[in-house]
Point group: C2
Chain length 227, copies 2
DNA sequence: GTAAAATCTCGACCGCGGTCGACTTTATCT
DNA sequence: AGATAAAGTCGACCGCGGTCGAGATTTTAC
């Protein structure tokens, strides 16, 4: 049972991912066909499906590497002594900035991560956990500092914040939020409310208040909600 | 400019939607091909694309009718005098039950609604607004009753609750939540926290607390989060 | 060493969603 | 009414993601 076979398999796998990174980066996910990918990786198309169940799975493998990098960069930039809100907003915006760097790419990523198909469920969960763990760390530190009540249920808060992140992303793709600045204001307002209850905005610093009011106007005009 | 043409167009449009309702219901969205749909509607395949930009757009048109019905049923069942939390959970669960009635259908719906493509953006926004308006009504009534601080920013709260709904849906597709019962417990915990702050669960009635603790255990085991 | 079994590779092939331009039907103009 | 323009219809056709089984390659058994 010499490792010849195993070795080759690893090579092939790497060749596929490398080709995917190159092509997806160069021309995007949807614009890269499996035929191209196979040719670029130097294998038959069918072979790819021995390594990945679907095109989306390759996509997530590709994301894994990229996200790793983005998170590392973010970690370096985060100020652990900043206020909880600032840190949370920073993480959320880091993630959002990364995802929406390319709009089409981000939509696929968001769709696959938030509502994964059976093929991609496990892989997307892996990726998700990195982000959730990050949130957990930030919250844990805040709890130690006393910035968060000791009896807070951290897991629930993590879920909560994750929900807000998804919402902001969704707002970007629904057209309610059209710039990263607005996304940030939105994030901040939501986080404030999550941490300090429904009346938090009314007590927030003036710049947050006014920023939100402006956004609010845009929402109402765009969506014609009856309020 | 007799209306002959316009009349025919309306007929054709209706024929397409009718066929879609029949086929999507019978065999599902993905299992219905555009060729079949065209044949069933009695038109050429190309004709359909004169009425809808993409298969997904037909899907959303199909949903519109179904959702209308589901909401009406829900409205009839909702107790306007129940507590705010109960009403919110009821609406969220109504929506979730509807969406996940068929798993594949629900995933497409959720993906298209949360991260719409350029083709389906406007239509998905229309649908979204119905749900948001419902939330607004419930919150507005609660504010009048004094169950919600007068200075609460309703729009922000609506956004917040919408985020929670999406999260619960996402948890179902990620495999974190595997039954409607669990979804309900999750919903309730999240809503409580959203309305009463991060420490709300610790003060919740015992059954909510214990239900959540059980769910929490499942999460941790499944996801192996470091907490 | 060799035969049998297990594994991996490949590209022709499938059905799909979506496009295109030739064709038919309706509206408009004189 | 006849001619021209405009609008609508259609299915052959395209490239796509994914499958399949024949054939090549490695492992195992003797």
């Amino acid at each position: 049972m010499s490792g010849v076979r195993e070795q080759k398999k690893q090579q092939t796998r790497k060749a596929i991912i490398d080709a995917a990174v190159k092509l997806f980066t160069e021309k995007g996910f949807e614009q890269t066909s499996m035929d191209e990918l196979a040719r670029a990786a130097g294998v038959g198309k069918g072979t790819i499906y021995g390594y990945f169940k679907a095109k989306e799975e390759i996509f997530l493998a590709y994301c894994e590497a990229e996200l790793e990098f983005a998170f590392a960069a973010l970690d370096r930039k985060i100020d652990e002594e900043a206020s909880l809100v600032d840190q949370l907003v920073a993480y959320m915006m880091g993630q959002i900035t990364f995802v929406t760097e390319n709009r089409e790419f981000g939509r696929i990523f968001a769709r696959e991560m938030t509502f994964p198909g059976e093929n991609t469920r496990l892989r997307s969960r892996d990726l998700d956990m990195r982000y959730l763990n990050k949130l957990g760390e930030v919250l844990g530190r805040a709890q130690l500092r006393g910035e968060l009540p000791a009896e807070s249920e951290l897991l629930l808060l993590i879920a909560h914040l994750h929900a807000l992140y998804i919402l902001v992303l969704s707002s970007i793709y629904s057209g309610d939020v059209t710039s990263l600045e607005n996304a940030k204001i939105f994030c901040r307002s939501l986080v404030l409310q999550a941490l300090h209850g429904p009346a938090a905005i009314a007590q927030a610093p003036l710049d947050v208040q006014s920023g939100w009011q402006e956004l609010r106007q845009q929402f109402l005009e765009q969506r014609k909600l009856e309020m």
